[in-house]
C-alpha cells in the first residue's frame, strides 16, 4: 500500500517542501475562506497591480514568461498582446474545464484557493482593460463551483470585485459559469461556443484566434486556472524573483499530478525544467518509487493526449522544449505511471475509448477514425484480432494525423525520436490525441499486439470468445 503523507483536508495534494507559488495556502484547512485568505495576504497582489499602470502589469507578466499551464504552454504575456487595439469590449474566459485524463490541479486550485484565482482574474482584467470575466468551471466539479460562488459573493461584499474596485476607477464583473460534461469544451474555441449557449464544437483556426475574434465576436483571452493563479504571487514578488525558480525557458513552478503505479501518487508543485521524471518517480519528497516489487514499464508524461515515454526517458527534466524534442509533451501536467503488469493494448484501448466517446463529431477523420480505432483495439483485446489489424490501426491513425507521429526514441530498435507536435487533418487536436496511445504501444510493444492476434489461430473456432470477454478470462 502507498504511504499517506497527504494534507488530510486536501486529498491528493502532497506538500513536498519545495517553493510554493500557487499552493502556499493549501496547508490551511480553511484556505478557501475570505478570513484565511485575507489573513495570508490575498488581494495584496491586486493592490500592487493597481499601484501600477495596466501596461506595466502586462509587461511584468511578459517579462516573467508565465507559460500557459493548460496544455499548449504558450506564454500568457504574449497571448495577451494579440488582441487588436481599440476593438472593445474585450473579455476574459477562464478555462476551468479540466478533463484531460490523469489531470487534476485546477480542481484543487479552485476548491482550495478560490480567492487566489479571483485575484489572478482581476489582475488580468486590470492589465488588459477587460470588460467582463467568465469563470468556466467543469460541470462535474460541484465543490469547486460552490467554493468559487461563496468566494465571489464575499469578494463582491468586500469591494474586491465589481464597481470601483478598492476605491479605484477599475471596475469589472466576474461571472461564475459551469459546463455539463464534455471534454472537448476544454479546447478554447469550443469553450467559447459553450459559453455562447451552443454545442461545444471547436471553431476553425487559423485565421482567427480568440484573441482577435472570440466570445460574441469580440477579442477574448482564454487562460487556464493555474496560469491565472500565478499572477498574485508575481505581482507581490516581481518577475525577477519569479525567474529564480524553474529554468530559463520555463520559469516558475507548476503543478503535476502523478497517478498510477507509484508508492505515493499525488499532486506536487515542482520547479519547471529542473525536476526530472526520475526525481518525481523515485524521490523521497515525491512519489518514492514504483510500487513495491515492480518496475517501470512506461508512462504518460503530459495527460492522455501525450505520446508515451519509457524507462530511457526518465532522466529528462520537466521542460517543455526537451520533452517536445524527445517526442511528447508536458501538456496538462498529468503523469500516469504504469509498471510491468500493465497490458499495453488494454491501456491504449482505454485512452482511445475516451477520445472515441468525447469526439464532438465535427471532423470526419476524428468522428469516424476514433470509433474505428476503438473497435479494432477492442477486438484485438478480445482475441478476435485479424493479422491485418495492426496495419489497419496505423492506417486509420495516419488519416487523422498524417506522417510520422511524435514518438520517443527506442535505442534497442534503433528508432529515433519524432518530435512533437503531430500534424492533423482535423480542426482541433482531439483526433490526433487518440493516435498517441496507439503508435506509442505498437512501436514499442508490437509483440503484445501480435501475441493477442496470433493466439486466435490456436483457439478452435467453436471456442472463439464472445465480445466482452477479456484475455484474462481465457487464460
Amino acid at each position: 500500500m502507498p504511504t499517506h503523507a497527504y494534507v488530510p483536508h486536501a486529498p491528493g495534494y502532497v506538500d513536498n517542501d519545495g517553493p510554493k507559488i500557487v499552493t502556499a495556502r493549501f496547508p490551511y484547512e480553511d484556505s478557501f475562506t475570505m478570513g484565511r485568505a485575507e489573513a495570508t495576504g490575498a488581494y495584496d497582489g491586486l493592490r500592487a497591480a493597481l499601484e501600477r499602470t495596466p501596461a506595466e502589469v502586462h509587461n511584468e507578466v511578459r517579462e516573467a514568461t508565465v507559460l500557459g499551464r493548460g496544455g499548449a504552454g504558450f506564454p500568457a504575456g504574449v497571448k495577451w498582446g494579440f488582441m487588436p487595439p481599440g476593438k472593445y469590449p474585450y473579455y476574459l474566459v477562464v478555462n476551468g474545464d479540466e478533463s484531460e485524463p490523469g489531470t487534476y490541479k485546477d480542481r484543487l486550485l479552485m476548491e482550495r484557493d478560490p480567492h487566489q484565482l479571483i485575484e489572478g482574474c482581476l489582475i488580468a482584467c486590470y492589465a488588459l482593460g477587460l470588460a467582463q470575466c467568465f469563470l468556466y468551471v467543469r460541470g462535474e466539479m460541484a465543490l469547486a463551483q460552490e467554493r468559487i460562488a461563496t468566494a465571489l459573493n464575499d469578494a463582491y461584499a468586500k469591494g474586491y470585485v465589481g464597481k470601483n474596485i478598492l476605491g479605484t476607477e477599475f471596475s469589472v464583473d466576474i461571472t461564475l459559469t459551469w459546463g455539463a460534461g464534455a471534454y472537448i469544451v476544454g479546447e478554447e474555441t469550443a469553450l467559447i461556443e459553450s459559453l455562447e449557449g451552443n454545442r461545444g464544437m471547436p471553431r476553425l483556426k487559423p485565421p482567427y484566434f480568440p484573441a482577435a475574434i472570440g466570445l460574441y465576436g469580440q477579442p477574448t483571452i482564454v487562460n487556464n486556472v493555474e496560469t491565472l493563479a500565478n499572477l498574485p504571487w508575481l505581482m507581490n514578488n516581481g518577475a525577477a524573483q519569479y525567474k529564480t525558480y524553474g529554468s530559463e525557458a520555463s520559469p516558475g513552478t507548476r503543478l503535476v499530478a502523478v497517478s498510477g503505479h507509484v508508492q505515493r501518487p499525488g499532486v506536487y508543485e515542482i520547479e519547471q525544467g529542473v525536476t526530472t521524471f526520475r526525481d518525481l518517480f523515485y524521490g523521497d519528497n515525491f512519489c518514492q518509487g514504483i510500487r513495491e516489487g515492480h518496475e517501470l514499464k512506461m508512462f504518460v508524461p503530459g495527460g492522455g493526449s501525450a505520446p508515451w515515454f519509457f524507462p530511457e526517458q526518465v532522466d529528462l527534466p520537466l521542460e517543455a522544449r526537451d520533452v517536445g524534442a524527445a517526442g511528447s509533451m508536458l501538456g496538462s501536467g498529468a503523469i500516469i505511471v504504469m509498471d510491468e503488469t500493465t497490458d499495453a493494448v488494454k491501456a491504449a484501448l482505454r485512452l482511445v475509448r475516451f477520445y472515441a466517446r468525447e469526439s464532438c463529431g465535427k471532423c470526419t477523420p476524428c468522428r469516424e477514425g476514433t470509433t474505428w480505432e476503438e473497435r479494432v483495439l477492442q477486438r484485438i483485446l478480445d482475441g478476435e484480432g485479424r493479422p491485418s489489424d495492426i496495419d489497419m490501426l496505423l492506417d486509420i491513425a495516419d488519416n487523422i494525423s498524417p506522417g510520422p507521429y511524435p514518438n520517443a526514441a527506442d535505442p534497442a530498435q534503433g528508432l529515433e525520436a519524432v518530435p512533437f507536435p503531430p500534424k492533423q487533418t482535423t480542426i482541433c487536436p482531439l483526433g490526433p490525441s487518440s493516435v498517441a496511445p496507439i503508435t506509442s504501444t505498437v512501436r514499442r510493444f508490437r509483440h503484445e499486439y501480435e501475441a493477442k492476434i496470433t493466439k486466435r489461430d490456436s483457439i478452435p473456432v467453436s471456442a472463439a470468445p464472445v465480445a466482452g470477454e477479456t484475455m484474462e478470462s481465457q487464460a
Partner: protein, 210 residues
C-alpha cells in the same frame, strides 16, 4: 414535467442577468431545470427557450451535447464510477463490476426502486486517489468494495447529506445591484475602459523624460 417554479424563475432571471447575451445562460438554466425535477423535461426546455429568446430545438440541441443532462428520469443518486486509465490501473473496472453486481443493474441503468443510476464515466480529476467515484458529483476516493457497500447503505438511509440528483453547488453566485460593474451586451460596451487612461497619462509623462 414542469416549467420553472416562481422561486426558480427568479433564480433563472438572475442567472440570465449575469451574461451579456441571454443565450449564454442556457447551460446553467438546464442545470437549474435538472435541479428542480431531477431531469430535464420538455416543458422546462420550452420555458428556457422563452427566457433566452431561443427555440426549444436550440435548447435541446445544446443540451443533448452534454453528458450531464438527462432527458429521462434517473435515480435519486447518480453513482459515476471512473474507469479511465489511472483508475483502471488500480481497480476502477473491478469497482464498476462490483457496483453493477451489488445494485443489479449495468452501467447506464437505474435500479427498480429509482434510487440509483450507475454510470461508467471518464476521468473525474481525482487520479491519484484511484479508484474513485462521484455520487451526484460529490467525490468518494480510494473506494474499496467494502467502502462501496457502506456508501450504498448510507445513501439508502439518508446518512450522507448528498443532495438529490440535479443539485450541483449548494451556494449560488449573487451580485448585489449596487456592487456590480454593470453587465451589458457587447454593443453597449464599445468605449475603452476608463482605467486604461492611466497608460496614456504614463506615456505622456514618460514622453517628457525621453
Amino acid at each position: 414535467m414542469a416549467r420553472f417554479s416562481d422561486a426558480n424563475l427568479a433564480i433563472a432571471n438572475e442567472i440570465i442577468s449575469r451574461y451579456p447575451r441571454p443565450k449564454s445562460a442556457l447551460i446553467p438554466l438546464l442545470h437549474l431545470a435538472q435541479e428542480q425535477d431531477g431531469w430535464v423535461t420538455d416543458d422546462a426546455m420550452r420555458h428556457i427557450a422563452e427566457l433566452t429568446g431561443t427555440t426549444p430545438a436550440e435548447v435541446k440541441g445544446t443540451g443533448s451535447f452534454y453528458e450531464m443532462f438527462k432527458f429521462h428520469p434517473v435515480g435519486k443518486y447518480m453513482v459515476n464510477v471512473c474507469t479511465n486509465l489511472s483508475c483502471q490501473l488500480l481497480g476502477g473496472e473491478e469497482l464498476l463490476e462490483h457496483a453493477e453486481a451489488t445494485l443489479g443493474v449495468k452501467a447506464g441503468g437505474t435500479t427498480a426502486d429509482g434510487m440509483f443510476t450507475i454510470e461508467d464515466v471518464e476521468c473525474i480529476a481525482a487520479c491519484t486517489e484511484a479508484p474513485c467515484l462521484q455520487v451526484n458529483y460529490r467525490y468518494k476516493l480510494r473506494v474499496s468494495n467494502d467502502d462501496f457497500d457502506q456508501l450504498i447503505d448510507d445513501l439508502r438511509h439518508g446518512r450522507t447529506g448528498i443532495p438529490e440528483h440535479g443539485t450541483l453547488a449548494t451556494v449560488r453566485q449573487s451580485i448585489p445591484a449596487e456592487a456590480g460593474a454593470g453587465i451589458v451586451p457587447p454593443e453597449e460596451a464599445r468605449e475603452a475602459p476608463v482605467w486604461l487612461a492611466r497608460n496614456e497619462v504614463e506615456a505622456t509623462d514618460g514622453g517628457g523624460d525621453a
